[in-house]
Amino acid sequence: MSLFLIVALPFIGALVPGLMIQAGRRACALATLSVTALAFIGLMTHVPAVLRGEVVQARVEWLPALGLDANFFLDGLGLLFAGLILGIGLLIIIYARYYLSREDPMGQFYAYLLLFQGAMVGIVLSDNILLLLVFWELTSLSSFLLIGYWKHLPEGRQGARMALAVTGGGGLAMIAGMLILGEIAGSYDLTVILQNREAIQSSELYMPALILILLGAFTKSAQFPFHFWLPHAMAAPTPVSAYLHSATMVKAGLFLMARMWPVLAGTDAWFYIVATTGLVTMVIAAVIALFKDDLKALLAFSTVSHLGLITMLLGLGTGMGAVAAVFHIINHATFKAALFMTAGIIDHETHTRDIKRLGGLRKLMPATFVIATITALSMAGIPLLNGFLSKEMMLYEASHTPWAGSYWVVPVLATVGALFSAAYSFRYIWHVFFGPVRKDYPSKPHDPGFGMLASPAFLSVLVVLIGIMPSLAEPLVRLTAAAVIGGELPEFHLQLWHGVNAALVMSIIAVVGGVILLALHRPLDRAWIAAPRPEAKIIFDAVVEGAASGSRWLTDRLHDGALTRYAAIFTVTVLALAVHAYLTGGISRPTRAMMPPGVVPTIGWAMLLIAAGCLVAFHRRRLVALVLMAIVGLVVSVGFVYLSAPDLALTQISVEVVTIILLLLALNFLPKTTPSESSVARRVRDGGIAVVAGLGAGALIYALLVRDFAFPTISEYHLANSYKGGGGTNVVNVILVDFRGFDTFGEIIVLGIAALVIYALTEALLSSPVRARLLAWTDESPDAGDAHPMMMVVVTRVMLPVVLMVGVYILLRGHNDPGGGFIAGLIVAIAVVMQYMASGFAWAEARQRYPYHGAIGAGVLIAGLTGIGAWFAGEPFLTSAYGYIHLPPIEEFEWATAMGFDLGVFLTVVGAVLLSLQSFSRIARRSGDRVSAHPMDIDPSREEC
């Protein structure tokens, strides 16, 4: 089976449980089981090849430009992990079928589980580290859904959020680390990166990359000080804990360290960071676990402790360390998954997980007792069980590892960790199953049915089998360890008896010490409860709350809703950047001579200054301010003509008209004067900022105008290629529809969206309480003269065809002479607005046959289809073509595909302008103003007049 299919199966299969739940819970579970089984069988078909030492690959290019390819490969390490994920997945699916109660939505559960499974398989089979990151984040997200599965429990939601925050945050750090690694190796393919050990370890970016990647691995694998999320994630249903928190997700960090082992391990930095973190985690978590009364919390901290153990082994950087780590990964997955399941069974049957309320279950739940005892003893490291073997190997490795020159730190700490580990394992057996049978269980306990026992029983058989005959697991360990090390395996044999050595002595100390600790548990527990210790959840919540209120404070400072604030921040920032640029950069000598000013341009310049100055003086009287703005617009338009920019002049003139109409429509509902709200000091400060920014901008423009450009400009390219490439002689228009056609396409979409938003806001406004206020609103403005004077009606009626003709003319000739879709659209929109103003809203509305929304949509569609048309010619989106047509009576004329695009721009502009103006005037309509359907107030031809 292709590796693609193995990874894709759980994702595709995630749809199955949602559908099959209609057919009942059994069918749903069976369907889910068959999906995972299929993927598992597919994986097994590759076993012979991997055993021969081959690396199975499946590659396809996805985004080669980014180095992101969907490449998968399967070697020993991938095989072990994928086997664990899918194999234990099978057992969990069976177990969950009986664990979930009737009220729990089972379809959802299995769908999330399969999503998670797919993401995990994706991680372990990815050959491309960017792809691996995608799957990594997917596991964070899907585990969030699984941990928060019981949505009604606040602990579940909080635990899920904490897990997401910690593992997701670590994932972000890892992205940076992986990118650095990829940059050093020159490829994002793992197989290539793994060959570049020397280059990576000698790079000066090795340390940052190492730390960032380890952050990702440590958060995922719950290493100290990020271990706190795992116990809180225990609010999840037990199948989730057994799956995610024993065998799969928390092992993802270990997997990553094992995967990167050949290139990252072996340095001092690696040893001191990884081995120390692992050792510290192992000891601290084991100590905490002993004093946890919640069964699942005990197991959670024991998991953290064992993860620390494996991390330490990987951190040693030796071949035997890696072998022991691999072996313990297998053993831990078997006994810990079974233990979680027994905890779930106890919870399910007695309705409590509190050890202090349990005890004496040995007689009531004999089958559960046997399974729990075997697996817990394996966790404690008792001979003839698999946990003993790998723990022995760990202790042996620890016994001869120096740490900063000291030969006793590592062995002593490892023994302490093993000792506490034995103690909490014994406690799990002793305090739960032994002792007198109690009368006060929340529910009368008995062994569950075969369905729930099958999975843990199977795992405990494995525990014993591997424990007695370690040679059974040896081929798998060899295969995996070879893949981790990526070179020669050290000489080793997995066997029960190594003779009397340091490890055996340490092991005996640990077991004996464990028994003593258990005996002393009661006084120790009292001391523990009395002792002050940091509560991770409170610290985490405080940090989150601090970050949230910090960002809220910053946001409130920057975005307080006042335009003046935004403008001030923006201007000061730009000013600061400009000052920085001026102080650090150089400026050349002026190269151009000054030109003599003409009389008329000087007058225009003076008018601009006077109008702007008056605007500042009169800005509180809003109508006068609008009139002064019209002068500024007029002078700018004439200035564009004078400076040979006819396209800009035409656009400016039409935009001015539309702007004035829009502002007047809005001003009708606003106060006619601007109240004085800010203090004098603030006004002086803002005035200062404005003056400095204005002078700075003026100085910059002056400096630019008296110098030649330091670099060749793009204008020459446009001038040279406008006709050759775009088929037009109006360079401005060719830039809009061809060179920068994609930008224009984006802009008309934005324009259309803006108009639709104005429409939507108006609709929302009119159906909100504001409507009542509008109805109660009395217009204070004078009511002089006719609403629709006859002369105005007649003039605009006559002008309509003329203006439309001009609009069409400007549109058609736009490609070669000043004009184009944008200007034409504005002109036509003004022609229509003219009718609204002269003949009235109702009259114009009655004659409007096509909604303006439609015009916007049609415009965007036409522009888009024109762009797509280029694909049929085998060219990229929006490539234009042109040619010439000769029809006998007319002169030869040009056709260009840009025409279609310009038509789209034209329609969008017409639709957007009219839709926004119409929306604004609708506000007045709903406010109860009288509307006459007649075009003229006094019409001689009407009867009633």
């Binding site: 009511d783 103003m837 005037s921 007045a924």
Partner: protein, 89 residues
Amino acid sequence: MIFYALAFAFGCLALATVLAMWRLIFAPTIGDRLLALDTMFIDAIGLIVLFGIATGVQTYFEAAMIIAMLGFISTVAYARFVLRGDIIE
């Protein structure tokens, strides 16, 4: 000859614009301001046409035409606003 004629015409229109500006700033009522603004539109049309004649370029004529065709709309809109408050009713 045309040079002097153009110079004279430019001078007249420039003076008219300055006077309109003067009126706009020191007008007694808003109606006077709007009339002054409309006058400035007319002056702008004249200036653009003269500029076209002076440089011999036809394209500028269209800018003048668009102002002539659409410029009055904003004057009408202002007037409607002053007289009735709502410009589309």
